[in-house]
Symmetry: C2
Subunit: 113 residues, 2 copies
Amino acid sequence: MADIHPEHTHIIEQTKANMPSEEILEKTAEVFKVFGDKTRIRILAALSEGEMCVCCLCDLLEMSQSAVSHQLSVLKAARLIKSRREGKQMYYSLDDAHIGAILCTGISHVEED
Amino acid sequence: MADIHPEHTHIIEQTKANMPSEEILEKTAEVFKVFGDKTRIRILAALSEGEMCVCCLCDLLEMSQSAVSHQLSVLKAARLIKSRREGKQMYYSLDDAHIGAILCTGISHVEED
DNA sequence: AAAACATATGAATAATTGTTCATATATTCA
DNA sequence: TGAATATATGAACAATTATTCATATGTTTT
């Protein structure tokens, strides 16, 4: 690793002081990691249109029930979605407005280019 | 996979019609995947305070030059950051305002809870 | 209570990925 | 030009992870 030039130490200290805590950054990375999978993004995009049951998601995404359920559990553990039971079926929806906002921002970034 | 109830087919078709294309969703997942790593989030958080050279990032993050450079190249390939050379040093900065916005939204989501 | 239906989950496998080590490239300075 | 400095990069290894298969759990219907 290269030596630090004296005129850089100030910038480094100041940046260090202004950055969010390691804990916040770690958690933020974990949240983005959950967004960072095609299957999960497809699920989130579907749910951003409204709540949906597992079998509908399977049909819509043309994926196995097992694969969808596994990813739903990842999304739920990260609190990106919530669930509600209605008889035999489970309905999933986005957990809060933040989730839709993050998704939209990401999609916009991709679309505008 | 369970059968689809007749009353669900409408919802499925409508959701399918409203969702972004597979290509957009795939690219969006790829973007979030790049955000979904602690080292890269730390780099982005540092750069959101202003441009910085590689050796400063190494010092700030207490990581090897090789590890930092590898992640910088991932960030650059995904166009999240851009670089500029000044003599022997390379200065990196966020590519555009979107990047800072996505980062901030993610951090806010983590902080507000 | 048994059968049918909808969903969840453990284990295994295949694929992806982050770091390290060694080394290459590029720029400046003597 | 040669040495020193700053950064980049290929290969290898370890760790993480998404899907599949088989099966378990929970709910309704007969």
